[in-house]
């Protein structure tokens, strides 16, 4: 099967700092991949390069057949392809980033209506369906500031899903949440995975990675140092950095 996401020889510099070093990954359709690593290892940057929230310095990104090859840090000439890629990827942020001046439902239908030109009724129907599936339909007319962090993140997931993406990107979706609210978000993510969505998840939730991921990638110092099925990775980590990471979570109560 052809991979739905293919990152080849990706380099990223922040000024002189080399944060991604010749990274290549492939994700198969319907695969759930968790990306773990210490903070500063480059995992969020890698995720954000896939939908060009960060411009890669060099390398090739391919999502569902749309390919963008960056040679010297400029993406200007690839704007139409980048737009295509953004339509094919849904993004969930650590800080939710719901639009505070729109109700929950308006947040969810904003993308389809404004970006895709979908008619409103259709968008509302789709949006309500997705809000229902994350258990947030009952708050559809509330403004985001009336919601808990967990509720906000579930709405954010519904917002991304309503764009009907091929791939969902999650950037530490539970890191800004109070511990008691993490579970509800992880449960929604499990459901999305079960429904067959392709997912790339940057996370510190080892339990989630172990339970849901088909494959776990470990990043350190801007490189993928290990990639394996979770049962293998967590029981027999090969790289010492993976081992250190797993031990740290085990002892750190994570």
């Amino acid at each position: 099967m052809a991979p739905i996401v293919k990152v080849s020889n990706l380099d990223k510099y922040f000024s002189l700092l080399h944060v991604l070093k010749d990274v290549s990954i492939e994700i198969q359709p319907r695969e759930v991949v968790c990306l773990i690593g210490r903070s500063g290892s480059g995992k969020s940057t890698l995720l954000r390069c896939i939908n060009f929230l960060e411009d890669p310095s060099r390398g090739t990104i391919e999502v569902d057949g749309i390919q963008v090859q960056v040679k010297n840090g400029t993406t200007r000439e690839h704007r139409p392809q980048i737009h295509e890629i953004r339509l094919k990827t849904g993004m969930v942020f650590q800080e939710f980033n719901l639009f505070p001046h729109m109700t929950v439902l308006e947040n969810v239908i904003e993308g389809p209506v404004t970006v895709k030109g979908m008619n409103r009724q259709e968008a509302v129907a789709l949006g309500e369906e997705n809000l229902d599936s994350v258990g947030m339909l009952f708050k559809k007319d509330e403004y985001p500031n009336r919601l808990s962090g967990g509720q906000k993140q579930r709405v954010a997931i519904a917002r991304a899903l309503t764009m009907q993406p091929r791939v969902m990107l999650f950037d530490e979706p539970t890191s800004a949440l109070d511990p008691e609210l993490i579970g509800e978000v992880l449960n929604v993510m499990k459901k999305v995975a079960k429904d067959g969505m392709t997912m790339l998840v940057v996370t510190h939730e080892m339990g989630f990675a172990r339970e849901v991921a088909d494959r776990v990638l470990v990043m350190a110092d801007g490189e993928i140092v290990e990639a394996a099925k979770p049962e293998t990775l967590f029981s027999k980590p090969k790289d010492p950095r993976t081992k250190a990471l797993i031990d740290r979570y085990r002892t750190g109560g994570g």
């Binding site: 929230l53 953004r86 990827t89 639009f99």
Partner: protein
């Protein structure tokens, strides 16, 4: 106030409730005492213009006959004052928004245009700017009416100062908002229109209101052109012609003051509504 602790005994209220009520009472007392003091200060002010003599101190004698006769004439300028202010604030708001966008632009000419405009306008007096449009431009063949010259000058001037409001408003919208919009596939234009501007405007409305109130008073400077018959122009005109500058200016001052109080009241309502809203 010593009455604060007197009544609660035996009412079955908890300690916390009593503390809460005491706090509310304190706030209420404070507000009442402030109002009372305002009243007293106002009465003193009125007394100073009453013409009465007290302990050998004479207060100011006003010619109430003159006031009665000219009240409606000066009040007739309120419409012009509000018109000038309204047109100017509209122009200023548009200019301020453009200047703020320029100030945040990465396109050098646009950035330069914005900072150049703000620097030039803030570096010269408003009074000069009004005369510039009214008296200086005719020399190069551009003749503007007093009203238009005044509105352009006030609009340009306030726009330069207000650009900071919009800049702050635009900057108050977090980076994550832009990223969320971009991730959904919005173009820079859509991101600005649908996500950034609505939030920035909400942030900017209260200070715009403040500037509108300030504008109603600075609009008095337009009277200097001699062709805009707003409150100040009328006061000066009747005051000069009948040597009753004192009465005329006291009347004009009262009009401005009352207008400001009324506008501030509405401003407060708008602000409260925005604060209660959805942020």
């Amino acid at each position: 106030m010593s009455t604060a602790t007197q009544s609660e005994k035996g009412t079955g209220k908890t300690h916390v409730e009593m503390l809460h009520e005491a706090q509310l009472r304190k706030a209420r007392d404070f507000r009442r005492n402030v109002s009372l003091s305002w009243g007293i200060l106002f009465l003193i002010l009125v007394y100073m213009f009453s013409g009465q003599s007290f302990l050998g101190l004479n207060t100011i004698q006003l010619d109430f006959d003159f006031i009665r006769k000219n009240l409606s004439f000066i009040a007739g300028g309120l419409g012009q004052t509000l018109l000038v202010s309204f047109l100017s604030i509209t122009l200023a708001t548009i200019l301020a928004l453009l200047a703020a966008l320029g100030r945040l632009s990465k396109f050098p000419p646009f950035y330069a245009l914005s900072t150049f405009y703000v620097s030039l306008i803030r570096g010269t007096p408003l009074y000069l700017q009004i005369f510039f449009f009214f008296l200086a431009l005719p020399q190069v063949g551009i003749v503007l009416t007093g009203l238009i010259a005044g509105v352009i000058a006030l609009g340009l001037n306030y726009g330069a100062y207000m650009s900071e409001i919009f800049r702050a408003g635009l900057e108050s919208v977090g980076r994550g908002q832009r990223e969320a919009a971009v991730a959904l596939g919005m173009t820079p234009m859509q991101t600005m229109q649908r996500v950034i501007l609505p939030q920035a405007l909400r942030f900017a409305i209260p200070p715009i209101g403040n500037d509108f109130i300030a504008m109603t008073k600075d609009s008095a400077l337009v009277s200097a052109t001699g062709f805009v018959h707003e409150v100040m122009w009328r006061a000066i005109r009747v005051g000069r012609s009948q040597f009753k500058g004192l009465e005329a200016l006291v009347m004009a001052a009262l009009f401005y003051w009352v207008m400001t109080i009324i506008l501030t009241y509405f401003q407060g309502i708008i602000e409260a509504r925005l604060a209660k809203g959805d942020r």
